[in-house]
Amino acid sequence: MNARSPALTRRRLLAGGATVAGLAALTACGARLDEPEDLNGPPEGPLTLLTPIFPGADGKALLEKQLLPTFLAQYPKVSVTVDYTTYDYLNQKITTGLTTGIPADVLMVGVGWVEPFASRQILSELRVPAGGLTGYSDSVLKSCRWGGKLFALPAVLDTRFGIARRDILAQNGYDRPPRSMAELRDYAIRLTQRDAGGKLLRAGLDVQSLDPRQLFETVLFAFGGDLFRDGQPAFSDPTTVAALQWLTDLQLKDKVIDQGFSSPKATTLPIADGRAAMAIGHNNWWVTTTKQRPGLIDQLQPFLLEPDKPSIFAGGTLVSVSAASRHQSAAQALARFMASPAVSLAGAAQKGNVPALAQLEQSAYVRDPKHALVRFGLENLRYGRGEGGIPAWLPLRDELLATVQSATTGRQSPKAALDALTVTANSAIADFGTS
């Protein structure tokens, strides 16, 4: 009897363990089965809000002490618990929320994330706010829709475009920024400065301080290219190859900047301290420039890379509601509040970003002379182009980044790198499905 007991125990343990593991795996995907409450009911109940904006103690104070009290006064039966994160950890937070079956009721996600989540019924369709969608740019709203339905509302935007140092251009005989990609390249070559030993003193065009993926997308849109067309990858299109070739040649052939001269993690900006004459940059660079060289903020001149076919990169933070939320009515109310002018303006001002509503163009924040980059982003939102567009975008984001790095460091030719990406994209689309 004694001799058999351990074997029995082991078997029982293994069987029990396997059962629990199986159940754990099954319940991990079962969270969405909960029936949401009636959308027409009064907003009430405890909500959780996951946000990558409002960082740090200042962000927390702004959101919880100044903004949310207005919402809670309007909906006294609702309470809100905020889960703060950064874009670096947003994926992990969402993944763990979905896996455990307790995703946040209101999720703030990036442009390009709506398609994968909406196509998999992770998000609830949003009710159009009472005032309609007037004021939101169509280009940005495109990133909020899937299958013709609205799944998110824009909160704050991140735009990317050309930025030139007005004073450096003037010193070199230019009275205006470049007006085409060809001219931009010509300017960049002529404005690059090296010492006698070949050491780079000033980059003609800083193409390293932005995330390489988003930088390439900004260039691609200026070339008139697309990431996807009719749900299929457009990476091997001649326009896409030409865009990456342009970016690669600037660095490897024209040597307007050296590898490692700057990086997205750098705490200072070459254009702010005169180590770069121009850059493809972000609207929030005014924040760093103000800290780094406050006197030079007026010298930053934003420009469209290709004014004849105008485009800017428009990313941002969108507000959406989890389909698993048991308080849909309250969650939808909170989502509308988080995309309201007051929150959009406060959120944008805190991070140096662009508010999502055109009516905020007249706000003191946008009109501030120091915020020319923000104003430029808002004024040109009609030319905004966003990333993503297909449900399989999330697995491809990293691959696009690696592709750009592979080409711009000379590991692969732009065409070879993009052809390889097309193969990966086709496989990801087949895995994920296009609808």
């Binding site: 004694n2 363990g17 593991a21 795996a25 984001r397 990293d398 790095q405 592979s406 460091t409 590991r411």
Partner: protein, 313 residues
Amino acid sequence: MTTVDLPPPVEVAAPPTPSSRRGRTATGRQRRTAWLMVAPAGLHALYWIALPVLATFVLSVTNYSVLSPLRFVGLGNYVKTFEDPIFRTAIWHTVVYTFFTVPVAMAVAVFLAVLLNQQIRARAWYRAAIFLPQVTATVAVATVWYQIYDPYSGLANKLLGFLGITGPTWIFDPSYALAAVIVMGIWQGIGIKMIIYLAALQNLPEELYEAAELDGANAWQRFRRITLPMLRPATLFVGVVSIISAFQAFDQIYVLTRGGPAHATTMMTYEVYRNAFETFQMGLACAKSVVLFIFLFGLTLINRTLTGGDDDD
């Protein structure tokens, strides 16, 4: 002829078998107490170790993506794992990282341990300084190394500049990025290895050295003929544990390079993370985890074989 009367044979009971001895000595109450005392640790192991491991195996044969309903896909994820060129690259990088970080760090650790086993001034300070990277958060360490590797203002290229050498762009260049990560890995791994060697050195019998000295052996001969052979058990232990640890390298990659540029520094653990949390392919990530588990299981078996198996052997 004398005869001796032998005493009648005494009936000796057969010695109890270990199991029956345990059965007879432990009362039911003692057994219950034993189970109660083991229960917290057992439940902890079941909940935090056994269940996740089982779930990993179960999920590895599904298409679990967080976003989609669960579907059985058989060995599909394993086929994908080995067809994935990035994961194959990651395996290669992991092997290269291990190949360089483990032996080099061990050699430096032995050298430092021998040095710091001598009666020198401020010995404790030196030991603490060398051990410091081990107890510092890798995130902090990697952030500092990120500054060191800055091609323009970093310490690495400044030092090379003094020697008249133009340094590379380190973590920004796919050709040097892995080497940069390896150097950091070596630096960070020296402390713990040195401490283990130091402990082993302090257990070596002095009389062997005295005898060797009497026989005219010089310092190098004593090191080569006595110290190194006597350190063999410690070397085996350090080697296998370090290899297992190197296979699990993650945080330095995550902070320093994010596996880039162009996947130049990606490793097995980073790929598991990337699939799970960046691309939401949990099933695939689980399959890759199982592959990593098999690697580590093999290494653990080698460790047990080399270091003598069970503790009570």
